[in-house]
């Protein structure tokens, strides 16, 4: 679907003004922010929710009888309820609040897998994964003697489904797979993949860091066992994230970290762990961050994830179309289903130089391996330049990017 350049997406132009970070000049030019896949800007309601919490409501949660502590607890637990509804979890007990996708995945690797994996067992991932969905499995495989196996991708950046399904033997205990690739934007056909994995009796963790900010997510409809995501990529604060897990699976797992709040009773003889979700939340949580994350969920829900997905798909189509007009442009990642991210190379210009030249024009993109070195190795590239979208981007941003790339071509002409 290619939109003509003259058709602005009207509804979304309003949201842009909610993001103070976008309204600044960088190197003398109005900022064009095309790095939301790394981390998104935050809307005023999120920034204000955090500041208001810190000014008016802060105290430690859960164990206080005084008013502020009660208020902080209500706000913190209220955010959990919002998240529960946002991804259609079955119960708030399934929403484990973490510091981000990375911690969520490490939690599963250590708490779910470490005690269970034996030599001969396998953990299955794909070549598309982010380091956060690779290294935790490497660590636990090394600890247990299990084997990490990897399904390949094709030149477009799509997982080779036939080969993935062939690898789903009885030896595989867990499949870790991304929802959307942060390096190439490929959307994995999760429904089919999860169905096949469940038929083979395989537990499935979805790395949803790049899914949740860009499309509606319904964990029950997906049918996976774990779904991990980060607050800072969905317009919330850094240091926040979620591990959603199926209640029965979470129940069966030992705690991850030990400390305050995750216990019912401590003595030196025996310690009784708390119920879900608290069993997995040791120590004082990131209360102000989670309050901000709750505000981000409200913000996204008010717009509607369907509308956001539609807006971004249009914009992505436009970006692809416009990039293709540039001489010497090579799009990297051309999966048939793609979301919000486009990697590319321009002539022989190293991505790092592209990044600097664009930055001089106020255009922020990311360059390098995007924490997905295996993707780069597979495609034989040292890295790529990557433009990624958020709900606040518009046609003008794309036009500025195109003009900036033309200038880069001239520098290296």
């Amino acid at each position: 679907m290619n939109l003509p350049q003259s058709q602005p997406i009207r509804d979304f132009s309003d949201y842009r003004s909610d993001f103070p970070g976008l309204h600044q000049t960088v190197n003398g030019q109005p900022l064009v922010y095309l790095d939301s896949a790394a981390s998104a800007q935050q809307p005023t309601p999120v920034i204000e929710a955090v500041a208001r919490y810190q000014r008016e409501d802060h105290a430690n949660v859960h164990r206080g009888v005084h008013t502020l502590s009660h208020r902080a607890t209500e706000l913190y637990e209220g955010a959990r309820d919002k998240l529960c509804e946002f991804i259609n979890a079955n119960s708030r007990a399934e929403i484990i609040l973490t510091s981000g996708t990375t911690e969520s995945i490490n939690l599963v690797a250590q708490s779910y897998c470490r005690g269970m994996l034996k030599p001969g067992d396998q953990v299955l991932i794909t070549s598309l994964e982010h380091h956060s969905n690779i290294v935790p499995w490497q660590l636990v495989c090394e600890q247990t003697g299990a084997e990490l196996i990897v399904a390949p991708i094709n030149d477009r950046g799509e997982v080779e489904l036939d080969e993935l399904y062939e690898l789903m033997t009885g030896r595989v205990r867990l499949l870790g797979i991304g929802h959307v690739s942060n390096a190439l934007g490929s959307i994995n056909p999760l429904h089919d993949i999860i169905r096949r994995a469940k038929q083979a009796g395989i537990t499935v963790l979805v790395d949803g860091a790049q899914g949740v900010p860009h499309m509606p997510v319904d964990v029950q409809a997906l049918g996976c066992d774990f779904y991990a995501f980060s607050g800072h990529k969905m317009f919330g604060p850094t240091g926040t994230g979620v591990l959603w897990g199926r209640e029965s699976v979470l129940e069966s797992m030992p705690p991850y970290q030990g400390g305050g709040d995750m216990i019912l009773e401590v003595s030196f003889d025996k310690t009784v762990f708390n119920d879900l979700p608290y069993k997995f939340e040791a120590g004082t949580p990131n209360i102000s961050g989670v309050v901000g994350l709750g505000a981000a969920v409200d913000y996204l829900s008010a717009i509607g994830m369907e509308a956001i997905s539609h807006h971004e798909t249009s914009l992505h189509d436009y970006m692809v179309q416009q990039l293709s007009t540039i001489e010497g442009m090579r799009l990297v990642g051309t999966a048939r289903q793609q979301a919000s991210v486009q990697s590319f190379m321009l002539n022989e210009i190293h991505p790092h130089d592209l990044g600097t030249i664009l930055d001089h024009q106020g255009i922020a993109i990311r360059t390098g391996h995007h924490c997905a070195m295996p993707v780069m190795q597979r495609l034989g590239l040292p890295g790529t330049a990557r433009a990624s979208l958020g709900l606040y981007n518009n046609h003008d941003d794309i036009d500025r990017l195109i003009a900036g790339l033309e200038k880069a071509r001239q520098v290296f002409a």
């Binding site: 190293h350 790092h352 030249i357 001089h360 360059t367 391996h369 040292p382 890295g383 001239q410 520098v411």
Partner: protein, 158 residues
């Protein structure tokens, strides 16, 4: 560089000499007879360079080469490095390393370098100082040199 590029800071970074060395790096390739070598990785961008040196019995860098991939700044810096330290004794090469990295990170002028050292060409990289995020690109090869001289096979700029 095309004169149409109007941004002076950008012009200052991507000077003619830099682009020339980046696109036609000197002493590129592998030295089969290397006595010293090291690999430098810049985790920021995933760049990696290998440096090969032949150091003779008199502690002189008889020949030097590099290979690898990187941005214009790191390639040009590596290429200029090989030209600069070739034929220097190890101590002078080490002094070059110190002078160059201090110039880039602290803006200091090199203290009186030995007469043998042709340091001036390296001033082409002065523009990097205004681009803090690129300093590691410019110093990557130099850290690899330092590591090779100290027999450490792997170094990073993190």
């Amino acid at each position: 560089m095309n004169a149409a590029v109007d941004n002076p800071q950008l012009q200052n970074l991507y000077r003619e000499l830099i682009l020339d060395h980046a696109t036609k790096p000197r002493n590129f390739g592998r030295l089969a007879a290397a006595t010293h070598n090291a690999e430098g990785i810049n985790p920021l961008c995933g760049d990696r360079l290998s440096l090969y040196l032949c150091i003779d019995a008199g502690s002189r860098i008889d020949s030097i080469s590099f290979e690898g991939s990187g941005c214009a700044i790191s390639l040009a810096s590596a290429s200029l490095l090989t030209e600069t330290v070739k034929q220097l004794c190890v101590a002078d090469a080490q002094a070059c390393f110190t002078a160059f990295t201090q110039r880039l990170t602290q803006g200091t002028n090199p203290e009186a370098l030995p007469a043998a050292v042709g340091f001036d060409k390296l001033h082409a990289l002065d523009g990097v100082r205004e681009h803090p995020s690129r300093i590691k690109c410019a110093t990557l090869a130099w850290h690899a040199l330092h590591a090779a001289l100290h027999q450490q096979p792997l170094t990073t700029t993190e």
